[in-house]
């Protein structure tokens, strides 16, 4: 049953979900939850908070299913929009910056621990650099370069023009490159 439904587009699955099909929930969760979590984690720089946001965004998606217009907004774009709003709310409420020491530390005795440490250090550095970007730049850079959305999709999710997206992503990427330029060696890249 899941294999058959797996062929369907997200918006068709939303209609099936509204009709009480539990497999639709499983497939939509498999497709969309990783994106919501990744988006929230990179913007917030905090895994636990990102999980709360991702769960809340998915709950709103479930609640929206009953009135979902097939052929209208894509569920994934709709979800990115919800995550963007939820993360902005949290950032504004807390007014905090993300520190390097907030990312998860891998256990040292596991195989490949050194590689994981390097990787964790890189993610922490990326999160810290992202945290210094203005909110809109951060959202645009995450959606464009990490989530891989096209500019019109980002424009839809952030409710801005495509030109504004292009400007935000260009400035954001430049600022990130500058922020990380001095850490190439520390991050394990050859200088």
């Amino acid at each position: 049953m899941d294999a058959d439904l797996d062929q369907l587009q997200d918006d068709a699955l939303m209609v099936l979900f509204a009709n009480g099909e539990p497999a639709a929930a499983r497939i939509l969760t498999a497709r969309l939850l990783p994106r919501a979590l990744s988006h929230a984690a990179r913007v917030l720089g905090d895994r636990a908070e990102a999980e709360d946001v991702a769960q809340e965004a998915m709950l709103r998606l479930w609640r929206a299913a009953a009135n979902w217009q097939s052929g209208g907004a894509k569920p994934s774009t709709w979800l990115y929009k919800v995550v963007a709003n939820l993360t902005v709310d949290r950032l504004r409420r807390s007014g905090r910056a993300v520190g390097l020491d907030e990312s998860a530390e891998p256990e040292d005795d596991r195989p490949g621990a050194e590689e994981q440490l390097v990787q964790a250090g890189r993610m922490a550095a990326l999160d810290a650099a992202l945290a210094r970007l203005p909110e809109r730049q951060r959202q645009a850079v995450v959606l464009r370069h990490i989530e891989g959305l096209a500019n019109p999709e980002i424009a839809d999710a952030l409710e801005i023009s495509v030109e504004a997206v292009e400007s935000l992503t260009a400035r954001g990427k430049r600022a990130l490159a500058q922020a990380l330029a001095g850490q190439k060696e520390a991050l394990g890249y050859d200088t």
């Binding site: 969760t29 895994r47 769960q55 479930w62 990490i146 990427k173």
Partner: protein
């Protein structure tokens, strides 16, 4: 730094796989929403017109309501003696209408009058 940045983006893309616990919480929310929707769906289906029609007894009831309303309008519009004529003099026989009344058929409602 562009190459390194692209490498960081690629690593970030793979970094956040949801754990089983989060997936379970999300699916539990989904099941709760589906269960709630199933109990709420029945009374709200069909829209306002459907609710209105069932409230007055369906289309058959609506037809009766329209006929009664039309008859009421006609009776109110025409003078009582005309209605009496249409009804074959039944109002006259009951003493409710006389041909020389200024307000035929209403005199019995006034204080001190007959009826």
């Amino acid at each position: 730094m562009t190459h390194e940045l692209d490498d960081l983006f690629a690593a970030a893309r793979k970094a956040e796989a949801p754990g089983d616990d989060l997936v379970a919480r999300v699916l539990a929310d989904a099941a709760a929403v589906q269960a709630g929707a199933a109990t709420r769906a029945a009374p709200s289906g069909g829209g306002w017109m459907s609710g209105l029609m069932s409230g007055i007894g369906g289309w058959f009831g609506a037809g009766g309501l329209v006929a009664a309303t039309t008859a009421g309008l006609l009776i109110g519009f025409y003078a009582p003696d005309t209605v009496d004529t249409v009804l074959g003099g039944q109002l006259s026989e009951l003493g409710l209408v006389t041909q020389d009344d200024l307000m035929p058929g209403l005199a019995y409602l006034l204080p001190g009058e007959g009826g």
